[in-house]
Symmetry: C2
């Protein structure tokens, strides 16, 4: 599918009242954004702490480990490295392995410099964090909740033998990277799955599609990527690296960046909370909060809306003025999706630190899904934000838990759920939304902007056509 | 079974050359104890770090959180508290719940003040650690790898209703404790098991005997224990609390305490490494290293040797002079056993910090067992010591990984395994040892002291008699 996506780029705000020191250290309102539990205290302390700091930095938040990792080989060395790689044993990458190469190479996982070696893997599995090494062996802690690993099979391990370095070969059979000072260790899939997902029930999408078919060994090492990873799908220009995003935030003179991770179309409830967050940041004293609307672009499960459709839908949401293009950056987060709930939401937040966002919005059941074999959510819908608010290495990030939005049948618009008149609210789940779109039925007026809705209807109609064709030809 | 155990109490070393400052801060030899990998460096840095500190303290290592928790109600308040408890809703404890009450009440789990509330439970499950709260909300990290929780069923939850405090009732139907400011939250057993054990395979002993039959809710709160927990099994005098152990180490003027956790009989390989550890500590400059031989006394699986038999066996090992009573303290660690490998070994080490030990010995596959449904170890035998050496909150503890000991058929004694003449060594597993004792066959000479071996033979003979009786009466 080829399509043209129009995302307006906001102009530089040239007349912005620039007083960097005031901007970076506003007087923080003590009004917590989230009222229901300890999280508000946590938020309070975080903002208080931030307000106490008086250092003006070139960006809003330091990348994990202090330095943004960039593993793309400089152009003048590419030829040399490529010819070195030719002589090495080859390791074949899957499409999803390549997405991880992309993620690591641009520093989303800073300070990670390659696929995990065993000591990193074990820390990630057991502690959801890595200890940095410094002179006395006890460095600071960075968050690292998902094992970012590369699996190989017995034959590949055999072939590699005692080599120090290997070449990584993309799905198109071209060499894309070198992995240096490698370490090969056992891939205990059962343990990895249990500790990452908190279940080993059959039917977890990433497990079934990625882990189960993969080899019994993991290979870690330092990554050198021969040239920036591109997908040539018409969307590469929206794949801004953390370095590019940081530059863009500086260019816009943002004094707060709030990231919103999503893998679904944007409805007006999302828009409400993003706009509400901006208003609250302004109330707190920030002058130019920028929204990073950051759809996940890597692997998603089959019944999620594909990236290109989502990008078109997001574009309409900005065109229709539901979100303000002046204060919004839409970019693609290249990570694959694990659907690992409280474990994965930490990864989603941590990666946005590296991209320069100092506020992170978290909602109900982030990165969650239904239990694959039981009729319930796989995770307690509140655990994601609780775990995120306590996660080691994420102390410097301001977590913004949000109240649930639902369709207010009286006001005929999406609104924050008011438990005192619960019966007036209609919860429209993703599944329900998909059913509406599939059947051609319209959702309640005010649920989503018409332009965005049209994109979805078109997508689901095309799916039905394809399904019909498949049935006919079968 | 009733038995008399003779454990000689070492006399006070009255002529000990006391120069506390030199003792506490010896010049540390740079010889690492463990040679094979990064752990030696880690050890090196730890001891170096310790040597750099010049504070003379009343004990060798601070309890987690800085204060040793003691939740036993002072005698003059017991009557009052007991009558308060009478009026509260009752929660029935199992035998193993009571072991946890014991563990928490004496401060083994410091800074934990009761059964975990949800925020502690989630941190334990996801991060194997707890963040202490201080004024700005960001305190230090303490290790906490096992969820220490109390499960209740639907009916009990219903009965408790909106109460703030409940009374805990022991298996003998007497009230043993109060749990205050309670919080009740969901007990997602599948997730708890998967994240704690890294598998949900059927046949995990603690899961089958404790978790599966337990209720669907967890109740957390602050514990007040009405009087010290006693078992009246003839072994209570060996159940020294962390406070008592710390006092004993001070009385003996120990300048290093190395703890050895075990749930099996002591063979000469164990003795070799304990004696070798002492020698190495002396080489490092310590003047009076004390061994804490610390058998686990709570729940163990059915085919483990019971506590009373083990205590009698340990007694013989000291009587036979295999371990030196002058520099050894034998005491019982009251925790139940999870058999959760790398997750549990952190608990075993952390609890010994609270008991005042500043060195912890760790071997192959600590707290491990065979996979319940597959023909392999449940955990990679090296993961325990690796995870332990990297665990958050255990930085102040000196981890002493040990080399594998096996029976040297040439020297006819237990010796450190020498891979250059691997064929001379015989590995005698716990299973093999049990088979020897069951069949009345003698193990190789030098495997275990005769007095200790006799205890085991007697135990297994009694088992066979009981089995035979059971067969006859069936």
């Amino acid at each position: 599918m080829s399509l043209t996506i129009k995302l307006r780029i906001a102009p530089t705000i040239s007349h912005f009242d620039l007083n960097r020191k005031t901007q970076k250290n506003p007087i923080i309102s003590r009004t917590p954004i989230y009222h229901s539990n300890k999280l508000s205290t946590s938020l309070l302390f975080r903002t208080k702490k931030m307000a106490a700091s008086h250092v003006v930095k070139s960006s809003l938040i330091e990348p994990d480990g202090g330095v943004l990792i960039d593993l793309v080989v400089p152009e003048n060395q590419r030829e040399l490295k490529a010819s070195q790689a030719e002589g090495m044993e080859k390791v074949q990458l899957t499409k999803i392995d390549l997405e991880w190469v992309h993620v690591i190479s641009e520093g989303w996982a800073s300070p990670l410099k390659g696929f995990m070696r065993e000591d990193e893997y074990l820390q990630s599995l057991h502690f959801n964090s890595l200890r940095m090494k410094n002179d006395d062996g006890y460095g600071s802690i960075v968050n690292m909740s998902l094992p970012i690993v590369l699996a190989i099979d017995d034959a590949t391990k055999e072939k590699i033998g005692g080599a120090n370095d290997v070449a990584l070969v993309g799905p198109d059979q071209k060499i894309v990277a070198i992995l240096r000072s490698i370490e090969i260790y056992k891939h205990n899939k059962e343990e990895r799955i249990a500790r990452t997902w908190g279940t080993i029930a059959p039917g977890l999408p990433y497990v079934e599609e990625v882990i189960t078919p993969s080899g019994n060994w993991l290979i870690g090492g330092d990554l050198e990527v021969l040239s920036p990873i591109k997908y040539n799908d018409g969307l590469d220009s929206y794949r801004l690296s953390p370095k590019q995003l940081r530059k863009e935030f500086d260019r816009r003179q943002a004094d707060a960046v709030f990231a919103f991770q999503l893998r679904n179309p944007v409805h007006n409830g999302h828009a409400l909370l993003m706009n509400d967050t901006r208003r609250r940041l302004l109330d707190m004293g920030y002058k130019n909060p920028i929204l990073l609307l950051h759809p996940l672009g890597g692997y998603t499960k089959a019944d999620d809306v594909p990236l290109d459709v989502r990008m078109e839908q997001h574009s309409k949401v900005l065109e229709d003025g539901v979100l303000d293009p002046e204060t919004t950056i839409v970019s693609i987060f290249p990570s694959p999706m694990h659907y690992a709930g409280p474990t994965e939401v930490q990864w989603h937040a941590k990666a946005r630190i590296n991209a320069g966002a100092n506020f992170y919005i978290v909602g109900r059941d982030p990165a969650g899904m239904g239990h694959p074999t039981e009729k319930r959510d796989l995770y307690d819908p509140d655990h994601g934000k609780k775990v995120l608010s306590m996660a080691p290495g994420l102390e410097k990030l301001n977590i913004l838990p949000f109240r649930v939005a639902a369709y207010d049948t009286v006001a005929k618009q999406m609104a924050f759920f008011d438990p005192s008149r619960a019966k007036d609210f209609l919860f429209i789940s993703g599944t329900k939304m998909r059913t509406f779109a599939r059947t051609g039925e319209s959702p309640p007026n005010g649920f989503m902007c018409p332009g965005g809705w049209e994109v979805l209807v078109k997508y689901y109609a095309s799916l039905q056509t394809e399904e019909a064709k498949a049935t006919v030809s079968a």
